[in-house]
Amino acid sequence: MWKFIVRRLVITFPQIILLSVLVFIMAQMMPGDALSGMIDPNIDPAAIEKQRENLGLNDPWHERYVDWVGGLLQGDLGESFRFKMEVTELVEQRLINSFWLGVATLFFTYLIAIPLGIISGRWNDTWGDQLITGYTYIGFATPLFIFALVMLWVFGFQLQWFPTGGSVEPGLTPGSFDYVWSKFQHLLLPALSLALIATVNTVQYLRSEIVDTKQKDFIITARAKGASESRVYNRHIFRNSLLPIAAFFGFEITGLIGGTVFVEQIFGYPGMGLLFMESILLRDYTVVIAVVLLFGIASILGALISDIILSLVDPRIRIK
């Protein structure tokens, strides 16, 4: 067991290093550098050149890479050209917003997936199962952004059940009940849109897992011994099928990252995804780089967590 975790961790480090190299290459390819945004265009070019030299912008690429990584390790993500503030500061509030969006989405994902998966697996081939399978079939083929647009249109504009933008009603005092309630309301529609699409995989997986387990020998034995049907399900089948679902948790994180870009953009929810879109349109590249880097690390860690949980749950994958 520990061996697997150690092995998995050993793979993680090169992944993070590779990611940093890739992001660094992106940063190098981006037009302009920290100075083109910072310095008054009226200053003469020779002075700029001198300044560049001082800042180490003319060093060979590997030295610049080492400097850059050194900065990252000290929590220095650079400075936004546009907002003239530290990226870390800029990111902080957005990160918190995205974090809550993620939490709510995961919560809804499982809240929807578990009952639907169980119903459709336990009573497979009934009309209830067919209804659920129909939903997963459509959900699987529907692009998230179209679904989110429709949700916004129907529940935001037509029915006006939910606010249609932002993360909180302006003018409320942070910390007050109203403030928290408003935040929650703003969160609900984006999170539900994401979850209703993201959950489809899990429902399908859970269903086929339950249908498979039903026919396994130990279940048939348990039945033969006279265990009641609900006992068979509660004690044996669900336990066997739900654990792997828990393990997908990490992969969900990876999947969420692409989703937040769309959903935050559509609902105008000020999280990391929207920050990313704004900065790339404003050509605020230090921010772009920082966001890509953070999301990349989040994906890597998500996969790491999932693999570790999976190996705890399912000894088969440990062998390979």
């Binding site: 952004f145 179209i146 870009v261 953009q265 559509i266 790339i280 050509r283 772009v288 890509v292 999301f295």
Partner: protein, 302 residues
């Protein structure tokens, strides 16, 4: 050498005829009504959009007409106009054609890269496979959408071609992985081993012996990928990082819906595109799923 008795047993012994791959595919599609309808729909719409766009005056469609802004559907503009007074119906047709074309292009390019990568990794196995799989894992873990957007934003001389290259660069992994695990099994089979003893080179065995035996997997995977790629392209165009401005795609029409006014009051601009994307993706998937069942003998319906 007496050959007569043997020739006799050739005709008498249990000779089973199994139909060719194409025929199995076709039979499964015909048997699955939904897949058949989907296929007909796809053929018709493809013929229609490619046919019509030959006649349509593309220039005219994308030219701004300030006297016809945001018109609702009418005799002249079947599906109304957008903020630039451009005909939605025409854009829909060109958009569908562009979305299909790029979907197919990206699917083919990722297919070629994925198949070659998977073949090499699976066939050689061992350390080669190990290293190649680690690289693949890394690509798989990258936040696809953001990385693609960044590259789209920074690439000089942006065009439809560079766009599909960027998409391809980060989308070949799925098929590569499937092919690799199939090749891992396939190369151990006696026919591949026999080829080695007959003096065939590794390259020859990979491409002339193993490859023909994994074509059904390749076709199935590429079909399903096509559906996904149409979705991805429209998503990227929706965010404004897909096709360049001059070439509308279905996603471009949807991006008008980011304007709340359009979303709320001018459904004719974005709803047809949304429905079309959905139908295209569902239809391609239906065909793909039927092919998948046909490729897996245990799941065949007929």
């Amino acid at each position: 050498m007496e050959t007569t008795d043997v020739k006799m047993d050739e005709t008498t012994q249990g000779v089973t005829k199994s139909p060719s791959g194409a025929r199995i595919f076709w039979r499964e599609i015909v048997r699955d009504k939904l897949a058949l309808i989907s296929l007909i729909f796809l053929v018709l719409i493809t013929a229609f959009v490619y046919g019509i766009s030959l006649i349509l005056d593309q220039k005219e469609i994308v030219t701004v007409d300030l006297f016809a802004i945001h018109q609702p559907p009418s005799e002249e503009f079947w599906l109304g106009t957008d903020y630039g007074g451009r005909d939605i119906f025409g854009q829909l047709i060109i958009g569908t054609r562009n979305s299909l074309s790029i979907g197919i292009l990206v699917t083919l390019m990722t297919g070629v890269i994925g198949v070659v990568y998977g073949l090499i990794s699976g066939y050689f196995g061992g350390h080669v496979d190990n290293i190649m799989m680690r690289i693949l894992d890394f690509f798989l873990i990258l936040p696809f959408l953001m990385v693609v957007i960044v590259f789209v934003a920074i690439v000089p001389k942006y065009s439809v071609f560079t766009f599909s290259l960027i998409m391809t660069a980060f989308l070949w992994m799925g098929i590569a992985r499937l092919i690799r695990s199939k090749v891992l099994q396939e190369k151990e089979l006696d026919y591949a081993q026999a080829s080695k003893t007959l003096g065939s080179s590794n390259i020859k065995i990979m491409f002339t012996q193993v490859l023909p035996n994994i074509t059904s997997l390749i076709i199935v995977t590429m079909t399903l990928n096509l559906a996904a790629n149409i979705g991805l392209e429209s998503g990227l165009s929706f965010l404004g990082f897909g096709f360049p401005e001059s070439t509308p795609s279905l996603g471009t029409l949807l991006s008008y819906a980011t304007n709340p006014q359009t979303l709320e009051y001018r459904w004719w601009i974005w709803v047809p595109a949304a429905v079309l994307i959905l139908l295209l993706m569902l239809a391609v998937r239906n065909v793909g799923e039927a092919l998948k069942r046909a490729a897996d003998a245990r799941q065949r319906r007929g």
